[in-house]
């Protein structure tokens, strides 16, 4: 049975950028994008695309990718297409900027309602920028469909999804009726690379652009205006950084000295 899938993907500042390049503008409470480091699709979202692709590989189906923001870089947001997704819809407008989990989940929900038909929605477990971890569950609640979060494996059979949900001390196999929303965790495994064929195909595809009016939302309900969680302050915690480096003539000697030093400090 072909499965109709939607994957929500967020463009974020590359979380692998060197920590030293991370800077905040205290006046605007915003992160300054590190110069020369292009943004990426949030890694958990890429794995959400991978989860959908595995289902498409095994039983066919269609994958529509949904991204929200403003000034989205086409090379970045098209990556899921080059991995094998079929369509890309961008909710792109200045009014979508500065949202929290609430206003973003609301806009995505309205877009999903406009898409209409779907069996499964995939999201990353949390985005690499705000780490809020609310969007997936929020969309499911607003749509009134069941959700299973933090998945490491997803299969579809007999009109139901079977999901392995990661727990602290193992995992749980959960069966859920469809349509359903599933959030994906890193335990799913690495997302595939784009193939050359995929990149060529993606280059030819034009994303569909939807503005707030296209999905029937008022500017006051989305982006910064629709927030329920007010950001009071964004700051970098001060690190003391007082590391006592063990000096020695050889690595082995350093190992011996380290053991002695930890013993003196009564750490074992």
């Amino acid at each position: 049975m072909p499965v109709n899938m939607i994957v929500c993907c967020k463009q974020v500042i590359d979380p692998e950028a060197p920590p030293a390049s991370f800077k905040i503008d205290p006046a605007s409470n915003q992160v300054i994008p590190p110069p020369g480091v292009p943004p990426v699709i949030s890694p958990f979202d890429e794995q959400a695309v991978e989860a959908a692709l595995r289902i498409k590989d095994s039983q066919g189906g269609k994958i529509t990718v949904l991204s929200l923001g403003n000034n989205l870089l086409r090379d970045v947001v098209k990556k899921p297409l080059s991995m094998g997704a079929d369509e890309l819809i961008l909710l792109e407008d200045p009014a979508f900027e500065g949202g929290d989990s609430w206003s973003t989940a609301y806009a995505l929900t309205m877009a999903i309602k406009k898409i209409g038909q779907f069996d499964l929605i995939f999201c990353g477990r949390q985005a690499a920028d705000w780490d809020a971890g609310q969007i997936g569950s929020g969309i499911a609640e607003l749509l009134g469909i069941p959700s299973v979060t933090v998945a490491k494996k997803v299969e579809v059979a007999d009109g139901k999804a079977k999901v392995e949900r990661v727990l602290a001390d193992g995992y749980q196999v959960i069966e859920v009726t469809m349509p359903a929303l599933i959030t994906v965790s890193n335990e799913l495994g690495e997302a595939r690379y784009a193939t050359l064929k995929g990149i060529m195909a993606a280059a030819k595809k034009q994303p569909v652009i939807w503005k707030p009016a296209d999905i029937g939302v008022e500017p006051g309900q989305i982006g910064a205006a629709g927030r329920k969680n007010k950001l009071l302050k964004l700051f970098q915690p001060v690190k003391e950084g007082k590391c006592e480096l063990i000096e020695a003539d050889s690595p082995a000697e350093a190992g011996v000295k380290l053991a002695q030093r930890l013993r003196e400090a009564k750490l074992f």
Binding site: P19, E175, L232
Partner: protein, 332 residues
């Protein structure tokens, strides 16, 4: 709905006793309730709560609400959501705290969206603003590179709390408190999931969360063989072995050993990081450790910023000599 009042902790029970995280939530909840001069209550949901209600009172709760039903034996989003939606409407707390656990991170966002209120996940500091009497929620963002303080203005204000971020009170077994059973009608037709199987992947030896000493291996370990050396050292030090994300993603060690933002949060006395670069998302899982020791050949590695002691060198040469000396010192 009545006027919102008091602090409610969503407690979790493990085999008939209160989970450690719930004790931490009650410790933090007590401070918030005192600042508001209001009550601290705990709600426990499950099929066999055992001593957990008593534990919750000893841990600081003025009152404990219990919802016991065979249908609540396994956590399922829909059933627990029904219970909590009803409880919040009946009890109407100002603040609801949940643990950032398998349950909390699934239940809290659905509950917040159902109730139409804001939520801060994975918080590490909570305080009451004296003017507005609103809860201010501090949480790490950008993989631990920054922190953000949030406030929401609708009640209940909901926050999930990172494990080991708050201190429990010393249990007071003589403390009195009321235990109130709540009746919630569960409609099985509205539960759209079924738990087919629960698979435990517990590692042999001391649990990571309980270990006082942790030896953590990173990408620099290079493969599964290297982790055997870490295991040996852990045995000598009566500790446990953990890993940053790359060894888990590469299949060198089980996923359940992962320490970090999306893995386990640990806070041992001694944390020896071997071949770990110290990405922010890893430090999010171990920055509560009392003493971090770093062994890494890259002097610029971020882990040295977090460490109290460090050796710049190849772990393959440093570690055997270190382990030998540790054995010698312990024997002597």
């Amino acid at each position: 709905m009545a006027e919102p009042k008091g602090v409610m902790v969503f407690g979790e029970s493990v085999q008939g006793t209160l989970a450690a995280i719930s004790g931490e939530l009650l410790g933090c909840g007590k401070q918030l309730a005192d600042a508001l001069k209001e009550e601290l209550v705990c709600i426990l949901v499950g099929s066999q709560l055992g001593d957990a209600p008593k534990n919750a009172i000893a841990a600081g709760a003025d009152k404990v609400y219990t919802v016991e039903d065979a249908m609540l034996a396994d956590y399922q989003t829909d059933s627990y959501l029904m219970v909590m939606e009803k409880a919040i409407k009946d009890i109407s707390p100002r603040i609801l705290l949940m643990g950032q656990t398998s349950i909390g991170r699934d239940l809290a966002p659905r509950l917040a969206f159902r109730l139409g209120v804001g939520l801060a996940m994975d918080t590490v500091e909570l305080s009451i603003d004296p003017q507005s009497r609103l809860l201010q929620e501090t949480r790490p963002v950008y993989g631990g590179n920054a922190r953000a303080i949030f406030v929401s203005e609708a009640f209940p204000q909901i926050a999930t709390v990172r494990s080991k971020a708050m201190s429990p009170l010393a249990p007071d077994a003589s403390k009195q408190g009321e235990v109130i059973p709540l009746k919630v009608e569960l409609d099985p037709s509205k539960i759209r999931t079924k738990v087919l199987q629960t698979v435990k992947e517990e590692l042999a030896g001391i649990k990571l969360e309980d270990a006082q000493t942790i030896i953590c291996g990173g990408r620099g370990i290079g493969g599964p063989e290297g982790f055997k050396q870490l295991e040996e050292l852990a045995k000598v030090l009566k500790g446990a072995v953990g890993a940053s994300r790359p060894p888990c993603d590469n299949g060198w060690v089980p996923d359940t050993t992962q320490i970090g933002l999306t893995g386990k949060i640990v806070a041992p006395e001694l944390y020896i990081a071997v071949g770990v670069s110290g990405s922010s998302q890893h430090l999010a899982g171990c920055s509560g450790s009392k003493n971090v020791v770093a062994i890494n050949k890259d002097a610029e590695a971020n882990i040295f910023k977090e460490a109290r002691f460090g050796v710049v060198g190849d772990w393959k040469q440093v570690l055997p000599a270190f382990a030998e000396k540790v054995k010698e010192l312990l024997a002597g």
